[in-house]
Symmetry: C2
Subunit: 220 residues, 2 copies
Amino acid sequence: MGLDLGDIQRNKNTSEMIATALRSAILRGKLQSGQALRQDEIAAQFNVSKIPVREALVQLQAEGLVKLNPSRGAVVSSLSLEEVDEIYTIRLALEPMALRRAFPNFTPRDFMQGEHILNKIDHETDLTRWAELNWEFHEALYRPAKMPHLLRTIHDLHNNVVRFLVHTIDRSQLDISQRQHRELLALCRAGDIEGACVLLQEHLCSPVTMFANRSQTPNP
Amino acid sequence: MGLDLGDIQRNKNTSEMIATALRSAILRGKLQSGQALRQDEIAAQFNVSKIPVREALVQLQAEGLVKLNPSRGAVVSSLSLEEVDEIYTIRLALEPMALRRAFPNFTPRDFMQGEHILNKIDHETDLTRWAELNWEFHEALYRPAKMPHLLRTIHDLHNNVVRFLVHTIDRSQLDISQRQHRELLALCRAGDIEGACVLLQEHLCSPVTMFANRSQTPNP
DNA sequence: TTGCCCAAGATCGTATACGATTATACGAGT
DNA sequence: ACTCGTATAATCGTATACGATCTTGGGCAA
């Protein structure tokens, strides 16, 4: 795995550190779908016992990133094409709602922060880092809604599909995405919430059609 | 607590049994919001060690029923009025979608099953059991959508508010709910999905207005 | 060969033990 | 009396140990 734990967060307890490290490894593709996660092995990697590892795995299972088979070990979860489609369908219902709820609470500061993230995306070449910044941008648009449960639900759904997205996306898709981001921000600035919601739906749809065409998914 | 473990499910592993028992106790109100959940105490109650108890608590935290404070113990989570409202808002977006997706897949068997559940609700006096049957009915309407992630999300959201609902609901509300259930089923049978969705939204809204009026919530 | 069975190794699941952290009670100093 | 610090108890967090379960590979019979 090549991950050294200790540097990430020394204040949290061990199981949260393990969960953070494993989550990051899964999202970065260092641990791919179907990969077995043996407790002893992970414990040895991080120089801890199995107990915090097990708790981390339970946490990640709840987030949908890991599948736990009783007495038979854990694997990095995989998604069928239908499941990817399902998750995008849910996001398509939730994210415009989040944007709509955030809209009345937007401040100039939110727009500046969004623009700052977009500028960072422009100069980003690493796809994994791009995915992180992509989420940061969307989060910046949803956070003013002040709906923490909704935000966490969307984040979890996002995490579950983004790790497959980075394998299929190409440069032209990235450019389209960025143009949509900028237009989205402009529409929000201009006070056109309806236009923004329509565009957001479009923005969310494009990757899912791409998935369907390439049918690039791991073992279902 | 007065809960005897062993009888519930002997096939699952210990941590799942504990999680099931604790979840049930929380939903039934035997463990109320803010109640501290001490690991040693729970372990003693169930005649097990703390390890499976800890894993159960992590699981329940992910479901939103428990709050884990590092090194300071777990408590049964409570919801502010704003959070209850937020969760109903999310359900209002997701449940009509689930119904809409289920609609093309409905079979006569689904309708019969729904009716069977409604008949059971008619004769039910225990509010906790009523809540369970209420969920079973809604699940019967959503399951044909074949969207497991959506169903689980809705179920978790439902669990998070239903335990407060049972404290505020009264007989007249129950009758209204049951009438709406029957009409909902009739509309689905008649093929009127639009009417069904409108009614479902109404059905979901009535309790949340009730909450707002009574402002009955635990320590926020 | 093919299929079944069983033994050995690998891995999981949890009880026990103990160090670490937090809460509580008490007494000294102001 | 009030605050603060310290001792003690309560509780949490994790390492170790070991029994339970699953996987694997080799031997035997059909």
